[in-house]
């Protein structure tokens, strides 16, 4: 009897983390059937979904770590915008190498600032990164004069987001590589275990001799670095750096992670789930467009589907 109860509880536990895969398949099949004639299943459309989703997915991988540590990063969208601008500017004046360095340094600097403010000045990350969202946007508008800065260097744009490799968009390779690295860090390294412990119970983690501030600090740096990479990919894909790039992405990124089974309160999550969550949002967006919905209708439908998905996954949770 207790064995049955045990497996039942086990099922309930895993339900929350696995529902995303079932949900993804259901949504995909739904559109595949209803939108068969609109070309939903065409290779072109599938690759398009991949392209549109990859950048969100990359940020969602990092967000999984942030949320799992019990923190949040709201600055990712505007950091992506800022990095697209700094990269484009540096390429324009100093060439590709400095462009890439500038983009990555942008992420590093913002991450260090977020980390120091949160762990040294004890400002909650919600506020730190909310403020940083404004600051990063302000800086990118200022240094770009709110103009777009075009990038003509093909090697850069091909490598970062525009080109194909073996017939597959390079963006998808980026997503897969970041996904694998993220998954391995999260599941297999000491740092990953520490992230989960800090998010699970910060007091117990400290009492177990873990430097909780150090963990939070590095998690925030990783998040900003991935946001910067996302900005560089936006810049490569659109051949331009512009402060609006990535605007509002923080919500899609957090939604993707939560849909994927990562707890908003820390201590639990999966990297692969977050990627699937991002893909699911991409599929929904794409499907709604193909269905001919107007943008306002898309917003309403997307919001409703996300609420529904999270509500279903929460329903299997152990209430005790």
């Amino acid at each position: 009897m207790s064995i049955i109860k045990y497996y039942f509880n086990h099922f309930k536990e895993t339900w929350r983390q696995n529902i995303i895969y079932i949900g993804f398949i259901v949504v995909f099949l739904f559109f595949a059937i209803t939108l068969h004639d609109s070309g939903f299943l065409s290779l072109n459309n599938i690759l398009n979904i991949g392209r549109q989703t990859a950048i969100i997915a990359i940020m969602a991988v990092a967000m999984t770590l942030v949320l799992s540590s019990g923190e949040i990063d709201l600055s990712v969208g505007s950091v992506a915008g800022l990095a697209s601008v700094t990269t484009a500017l540096a390429i324009k004046y100093y060439g590709i190498f400095f462009g890439i360095s500038a983009g990555l340094c942008t992420g590093l600097i913002v991450g260090i600032l977020n980390g120091l403010i949160s762990t040294r000045l004890m400002v909650p990350t919600f506020l730190t990164t909310l403020a940083m969202m404004g600051i990063a946007k302000g800086v990118s508008m200022w240094i770009s004069g709110t103009r777009s800065i075009s990038i003509i260097e093909e090697p850069y744009t091909n490598f970062f987001g525009s080109g194909d490799f073996l017939g597959i968009p390079s963006l998808l390779f980026w997503m897969i590589i970041i996904g694998i690295i993220g998954h391995v860090i999260y599941r297999r390294t000491k740092f990953g275990r520490q992230i989960l412990a800090v998010g699970g119970n910060v007091v117990s983690a400290n009492y177990s001799g873990i430097n909780t501030n150090k963990v939070k600090f590095f998690v925030l740096i990783i998040s900003s670095l991935m946001a910067a990479l996302a900005g560089m990919l936006y810049a490569g894909r659109l051949h331009t750096g512009r402060f609006q790039l990535g605007e509002g992405d923080e919500l899609s990124v957090i939604a993707a992670a939560v849909l994927g089974g990562t707890s908003l309160f820390g201590g639990k999550g999966t990297v692969i789930g977050s990627i699937i969550g991002a893909l699911m949002i991409g599929v929904i967006n794409n499907g709604l467009i193909l269905m001919g919905l107007e943008y306002p209708q898309q917003l309403i439908a997307r919001g409703s589907i996300i609420i529904l998905a999270v509500a279903i996954s929460e329903s299997g949770k152990n209430k005790s």
Partner: protein
């Protein structure tokens, strides 16, 4: 006798019994609290005091017997109507909202309204002032609660009860966090309230206070009422013997170690806490169990917090293996192989919604990590070992810790530190709230760790287990170690009229006596 008293009887509990899953928490208890009286309720942890208080507050029902308030039988006591019957509880851990003002706290959920239905702040402040005036206490009702001292907060809590016209006031360990002068103010107030006719039920482990303030004492032991006597019919010795019982519990189990002096591993010299003061001096030998005894608020947990880097040292030296060390945080303490089984296993010791394996590997991640990758095989092996060695009752190593019983949870905490192979293991109230069986297992485990050569600091408020496990016992009072006695001395110099526990209790009580109060 009873007839005379019943004229002013506030609460009568007749033949009250209460069981929790077959264990009798209260067994046919007969007790009567009068107006114009401070009535102390005494007993060891688990004697049934808090069950009585919870019945009076309407939290627990009772299976048998009757409760009468003002001589009227009350059948359905609930937390809501307990207030209407005039019962006011002053909580041990404050139930006030720190961010609200004193007046807002006093009238929380009970706010006076203006004619328009808005909260009448002016009236609320005026009424609060009146209450404080009647209490003879000067607290500004407009002050935010977090600007008050602990003592003032306690007084606010009493004011809150009085604002709801409480006639019967219950105070549970009200002085454990108060300074001497705050205790004086509280006691003057209690005497004043008594003279105004309130019935005051007073629970405390500090017997000096009991003798100072109460009129009558009721002693409970193992859910049974032992005695109700006037204060002048008791002295410290007879009171202790009523509380603890005549016979020593399993003296045969007491660990009689040879106690041959091994080398000193840790010297603590004039160590104080930066924020909380104190002045600690003691040595810890390799392979010994040093018990730490003391009353709540005596500063016994501070020793653990200082040695584990949870509290900043103000002055003094900690000398570990002949080196002066500075423990600034838990990373330092882990570096020196000092481990702590903390007071609150659920909030400090464990990550409840993680698996047994995750919890056990947490302080030991370095052992399993190569090139920053964690080897799950090693960690699983250790987890299995802990589950088997410590007899943790679970079906699977991946089960969540929250699904375990309290005793098994505590074994996980001890197990994770056992794997880390510490030199010094500090346990703070390690057996609190776990069942008897697990308690024995935990003590056995501590014993075997000491035999392996680990030095143990064992903080506990349970004297029986302290005596059972310790080689020496340090008695803490007012932030200092007042005395360190070896158990062998205690056993050899045993006075035949009193048990060893009683002797120890006597030492603890007398070393906590505060000259200013006597």
């Amino acid at each position: 006798m009873r007839d005379v008293n019943s004229l002013s009887s506030a609460v009568k509990m007749q033949n009250i019994s209460k069981s929790f899953g077959g264990i009798k928490a209260l067994d046919n208890v007969d007790i009567s609290f009068q107006y114009h009286e401070i009535h102390a309720l005494l007993g060891e942890n688990g004697a049934g005091k808090s069950t009585i208080l919870k019945i009076l507050r309407g939290i627990h029902s009772f299976s048998n017997g009757k409760v009468l308030i003002d001589n009227n039988p009350i059948s359905n006591l609930t937390p809501q109507n307990a207030k209407e019957y005039g019962i006011g509880m002053i909580f041990q851990e404050m139930s006030l909202v720190q961010s609200l003002t004193v007046a807002q706290n006093i009238y929380l959920g009970n706010e006076p309204k203006t004619k328009l239905g808005f909260i009448d702040d002016i009236l609320m402040i005026k009424k609060s002032e009146t209450i404080f005036k009647s209490m003879g206490i000067n607290i500004n009702p407009k002050e935010k609660l977090n600007n008050l001292t602990t003592g003032q907060q306690q007084l606010t809590e009493i004011a809150k009860a009085l604002s709801q016209n409480a006639k019967i006031l219950i105070l549970d360990e009200p002085t454990s966090a108060l300074t001497t002068s705050e205790v004086k103010i509280l006691f003057n107030l209690l005497i004043k309230l008594k003279s105004e006719g309130k019935c005051i039920i007073y629970v405390s482990h500090r017997m000096e206070e009991i003798f100072q303030i109460s009129d009558k004492i009721t002693v409970l032991r193992d859910g049974k009422l032992i005695n109700t006597k006037k204060i002048n019919e008791y002295n410290l010795q007879t009171l202790i013997s009523d509380i603890m019982g005549k016979e020593t519990k399993n003296l045969s189990d007491f660990r009689k170690k040879t106690n041959k002096k091994s080398k000193i591993i840790l010297k603590v010299r004039n160590v104080s806490s930066l924020n909380k003061g104190g002045n600690y001096n003691f040595d810890l030998y390799k392979g010994e169990v040093l018990g730490i005894a003391g009353l709540l608020g005596s500063g016994r947990s501070r020793i653990a917090r200082l040695l584990y880097g949870l509290e900043t040292k103000g002055s003094g030296n900690i000398i570990f293996k002949n080196n002066n060390i500075d423990i600034k945080n838990t990373i330092d303490s882990n570096k020196y192989k000092i481990a702590l089984v903390p007071e609150d296993r659920r909030l400090q010791g464990l990550i409840l919604n993680h698996s047994i394996k995750s919890n056990i590997e947490l302080p030991n991640l370095n052992n399993y990590t190569k090139y920053s990758f964690v080897s799950d095989n090693d960690s699983i092996e250790d987890t299995k070992k802990v589950i088997a060695d410590l007899n943790i009752k679970t079906l699977d190593k991946n089960n969540l810790v929250s699904s375990l019983s309290g005793g098994n949870q505590q074994k996980v905490v001890i197990g994770k530190w056992k794997i880390s192979d510490p030199e010094i293991l500090i346990l703070d109230e390690a057996t609190a709230g776990i069942d008897i069986g697990s308690k024995g297992e935990v003590l056995d485990l501590v014993n075997s760790l000491a035999q392996e050569g680990k030095s143990i600091i064992f903080i506990s408020s349970e004297l029986t287990e302290l005596l059972a496990i310790s080689d020496r016992i340090a008695i803490v009072g007012n932030g200092q170690i007042k005395k360190i006695i070896s158990k062998n001395d205690l056993i050899e110099n045993k006075n035949n009229n009193v048990s060893i526990e009683q002797q120890l209790q006597f030492l603890i009580q007398t070393s906590n006596m505060n000259e200013a109060l006597i």
